[in-house]
Amino acid sequence: MITLAGVCGGYGGLDILSAFELNVEPGTINCIIGPNGAGKSTVLKTVSGILRPRLGSIVVNGLDLVGKSPAEIVKFGVVQVPQRHGLFAGLTVRQNVMMGAYVARASKKRLDARYDELAGMFPIIGKRASHRAGGLSGGQRRMVEFARAMMLEPQVVLLDEPTLGLDPLSRGVIYESTRAMNEAGVTVLMVEQNVRFGLSLADTVTVMSAGRVVLTGTASEIERHPDLMGLFFGLAPETDQVAE
């Protein structure tokens, strides 16, 4: 269970999130959608510890993550795949994936076995293990980032706009891979600009505007909601509404 309660925070003293509230059930896929500047990526950065919220609590499976370092949060099992530039171009694909276990640094034998397991789920890391990550296409890089996120068998994976800049074929692969991660028991909290993609993948959807939650519900409820289009064209509802 992920619970964000009364979270306020942002950059350089300016709050992007204002009294942000979110509940994500374990084992589900939750997608946050909303117009540019709504604060979607900021939510993920506060959960992963990159940004420290000014107020509020972020509890994941009973542990309050506020004040914990990104390394402690990764060790606890919450991993973020960033929006852009997640890989290290100078390292090989294998080295990039292995770096997902940096905080644990388990035995080589165990890590090799885990790598082989993940190669079944993300074939690219088996085929191009010794290639430099800097030479991969956008879709391939995403797959390597997903595999890296799965190295330590996380409880929660945070995906920041996983389809950004990808062609339809690669988006299909992202869809299948996200489903596969979820079926492996991982709770997925994702942020997505591509509303259709987000709605097709998520169990529950949260719609944000100006740092607050304006709608929550199942994907089909949100898809049919009359205010959805208005939100993306700057016609946000005056009060918070819950579709459920």
Partner: protein, 293 residues
């Protein structure tokens, strides 16, 4: 022909030493994007410490380097945490200015402790040579070059094969991405500064028996080490090796076939050529730029 081979051998040996002296500079730049203007001063301080161990305790410079290295590494940690990291938090440019200030302070401190007289160490192998046919290989340069190969290979191993090395690569390429997998760039920065300053101890030891030095010799050495790093590609260890060898050979050829006076201009001529023809240096890596993630 023998004279040419002799010149090339000498150039390669001294080029290896140049690479050793410049490794710390490229490491710091590669990770922290800081040009450490105190590299020359650290080299001279290391040379003086080696000189004192040799003068007062009779410790060979090649062994003394292993005593000086941890001391220099510790000094690196103190200076990084006390000055560089704080300056870097304000502005990366300020950190470079801080290293320049450090160079001046270190030069003054070495002058106060050791005085302005030229110093050098003269171990047994100082003026001996190994002969292979008609080629004479000076032992001092040979040992210094072996030293350079071992230390540079050790560093390359750390960078390519260890968790610390991969964390260094990650933090240098993508600090926020590194934080997301639990690598703390500030902690990596401390390590890298300590390692880079410790490696100058080995360069300083070689310098102590290959050259005479005074406190303000650091001015010349920062110029030379910068040339090596620019030649090879900022931040690249293979690049530093290539840059050192190219510079060493070019200097030796110029010295032998043009004039000794012109050999001092070689580093600056090479910098001009490289910056014009291949500004990224000999060994810069490229990634695909047609993808956003």
């Amino acid at each position: 022909m023998a004279a040419l081979i002799q010149t090339l051998v000498f150039g390669l040996l001294i080029g290896g030493v140049y690479a050793l002296m410049s490794t710390g500079l490229t490491l710091v730049f590669g990770v922290m994007k800081i040009v450490n203007m105190a590299q020359g001063a650290f080299l001279i301080l290391s040379a003086y410490l080696t000189y004192s161990l040799w003068t007062y305790a009779g410790i060979d410079p090649l062994i003394g380097a292993f005593i000086v290295a941890p001391v220099m590494g510790l000094l690196g940690v103190i200076l990084y945490k006390g000055i560089i990291e704080r300056a870097q938090r304000i502005d990366a440019g300020l950190a470079i200015v801080a290293t320049f200030a450090l160079a001046l302070i270190l030069e003054a401190v070495t002058a106060l402790i050791w005085g302005p007289e030229p110093a050098t160490t003269t171990p047994d192998y100082f003026n001996q040579a190994v002969h292979i046919g008609s080629i004479a290989i000076p032992k001092a340069q040979l040992y210094a070059c072996i030293f350079a190969v071992v230390i540079t290979a050790g560093l390359a191993f750390i960078i390519k094969r260890t968790w610390l090395g991969h964390a260094i690569t990650a933090a240098s390429e993508n600090p926020e991405g590194a934080r997301l997998i639990g690598v703390e760039p500030a902690r990596v920065g401390t390590w890298i500064f300590a390692i880079s300053i410790a490696t100058t101890a080995f360069g300083g030891a070689a310098l102590s028996f290959l050259y005479q030095f005074v406190p303000d010799s650091q001015d010349g050495w920062i110029g030379l080490t910068l040339s090596v790093v620019i030649l090879g590609g900022l931040g690249s260890i293979p690049g530093v090796v290539a840059g050192g060898l190219v510079l060493g050979v070019a200097e030796a050829l110029t010295s032998n076939y043009v004039s000794v006076q012109w050999s001092t201009a070689v580093p600056f001529i090479l910098i001009l050529v490289v910056l014009t023809v291949r500004p990224q240096g000999l060994f810069a890596l490229h990634s695909r730029e047609d993808v956003s993630s």
